[in-house]
């Protein structure tokens, strides 16, 4: 276990250094990630003028979006398509370590480059994030990050069966957009949409930490939300492990 953590740490270090070499492009993908939460902020501020809770929520959502950004369709799927997965397979460490390392490296850069954007959005929108509630949301951000990674990883594994892994991941992102709290804060939806949305995994990946930071979830609802989040993490991780085992048997690298 300790060895695994050390390997992940080393991988984050190596990957983030290599990501730094294409930093100007990194800034553009940070902008790309920020666009849907910012649009949500603008549209909902126009729909409900003077509602400071909705602006606080969307500023928190922007931060969560950057901290949970996942690109496994680029790192993992493209490795499957161009055969570089073969090289990762013969290394004396699980393949997933480098996928995690590059994911976390990217998220660190996303947060660093995104901080000015978050700060500007917070000031312009008049977001009021309470320090205590922000702290309360931190574990949820970590679980959301893990959950979104596992979900994207799972969809990216479709590259072992089809040429359209990018489309599959895109489909997953559409679901996260619609049901995860970007299209609308789930708390603003009528029943039964709200309860259904809260039980699905997408809200646990994105909207939940933002709602906690904005102070819209308390008490029993909070612990229930954490339970749902952890439950989905266990289910999706188990599923990803099974799919990886089954899919790997199909893998045949290209080239000599």
């Amino acid at each position: 276990m300790i060895r695994m953590l050390r390997l992940v740490g080393l991988s984050i270090w190596r990957q983030s250094l290599s990501q730094w070499s294409w930093r100007s492009f990194l800034i553009t993908i940070v902008i790309g990630q920020s666009v849907t939460p910012l649009l949500g902020l603008l549209v909902w501020s126009a729909a409900l003028p003077g509602d400071s809770q909705v602006s606080t929520y969307y500023v928190a959502l922007l931060a969560v979006q950057l901290m949970t950004a996942s690109y496994e369709h680029h790192t993992l799927s493209n490795g499957i398509y161009d055969g570089t997965l073969a090289r990762a397979l013969v290394q004396p460490q699980p393949v997933v370590i480098d996928v995690i390392g590059s994911n976390l490296g990217l998220r660190i850069w996303h947060l660093i480059f995104g901080l000015p954007l978050i700060a500007i959005a917070a000031v312009v929108a008049g977001a009021q994030i309470d320090v205590y509630e922000g702290m309360l949301a931190l574990p949820a951000v970590v679980i959301a990050g893990a959950l979104r990674f596992v979900f994207t990883y799972l969809l990216a594994l479709s590259a072992l069966w089809t040429e359209r892994a990018h489309g599959v991941v895109g489909l997953g992102e559409t679901l996260i957009f619609l049901l995860g709290g970007t299209a609308a804060p789930l708390g603003y939806l009528p029943e039964p949409f709200r309860s259904v949305g809260q039980a699905l995994p997408f809200w646990s990946m994105l909207g939940l930490p933002a709602e906690i930071a904005a102070g819209t979830i308390h008490g029993a609802a909070l612990s229930q939300a954490y339970a749902v989040q952890l439950g989905w993490l266990v289910v999706l991780t188990a599923l990803a492990a099974v799919i990886w085992r089954v899919g790997l048997r199909r893998f045949a690298a290209v080239g000599a």
Partner: protein, 261 residues
């Protein structure tokens, strides 16, 4: 001119034949389009559960705008993106040479060489969404309004193509800069009426970046024929952006020195 049109008709039919060879992809593409569009409409619906108007636009009107946005996006995905996405790579690696040696203007060959005809499904679905939005908004549509809307769609298409080509030409001056994702990000602002944005942003999206002319202006003219003055403005803007793209490419091509190994 006629020769160019014939050339692109041939290229289109080749791309179409290439794409329909893969039937599973065809179905998958259709699923992606329908899900994406349904999600956008649902997102609008969620907003209208809490409010009646958004920047002065009712639900039906906003749906008609979304449909218009979808049409222009479909045209962009079908004709322009397959060529200009990651165009900088061609210039950096020198494969752009192949385009320069062909007997047609480089700007057209580089930006319209291949296409993805399946994405035209987005255009068809967009048109259905516009019809549904107009029906929901229960406004009466005049033939003049439809004609103006079509003219504005053509203008918006030219603006889309020209701004995209302009951005691609940036590689001749700044090869390290890849702004494809930024263009996509700004593009997303067109899916809502620009009236909802605060004043400085609205000004930026109308006068500096012609985002307002992609969907907001055409949809507004379709729903309210009193705004016909937008037609000459939009056509003028389309011609202006075409000329700008043309000049940028000419100047850029003079700087192009190919890549050596």
């Amino acid at each position: 001119m006629l020769k160019l049109i014939r050339l692109f008709a041939t290229l289109f039919s080749m791309s179409l034949r290439r794409q329909i060879t893969f039937r599973a992809d065809l179905v998958f593409e259709l699923v992606l389009t329908v899900v994406g569009l349904a999600a956008s409409i649902a997102a609008l619906g969620m907003i209208y559960t809490r409010t009646d108007t958004l920047g002065g636009w009712g639900p039906g009107e906003a749906i008609a705008l979304l449909g218009t946005f979808q049409i222009i996006t479909g045209l962009r995905t079908a004709f322009v993106e397959p060529n200009l996405q990651w165009f900088g790579k061609q210039v950096k690696e020198g494969t752009f040479d192949a385009i320069l040696t062909q007997p047609a203007p480089a700007i057209f060959l580089a930006s319209l060489n291949t296409c993805a005809p399946l994405a035209l499904g987005q255009v068809g679905l967009g048109a259905i969404v516009v019809a549904y939005g107009v029906h929901e908004a229960s406004v009466s549509i005049t033939p003049a309004g439809v004609a103006a809307w079509l003219a504005l769609l053509v203008a918006a298409t030219v603006i889309m193509w020209a701004t995209r080509a302009l951005l691609a030409a940036l590689v001749f001056w700044a090869p390290e800069l890849t702004l494809d994702v930024v263009y996509d990000s700004v593009w997303q602002f067109a899916r809502y009426p620009v009236d909802i944005y605060q004043r400085p942003l609205r000004m930026l999206l109308t006068y500096v970046l012609p985002v307002a002319f992609l969907a907001t202006v055409p949809a507004r003219v379709l729903l309210d024929t009193g705004q016909l003055v937008a037609v000459p403005v939009s056509i003028g803007l389309a011609i202006g952006s075409y000329l700008l793209a043309h000049l940028a490419w000419q100047a850029g091509l003079r700087r192009y020195t190919s890549a050596t190994s």
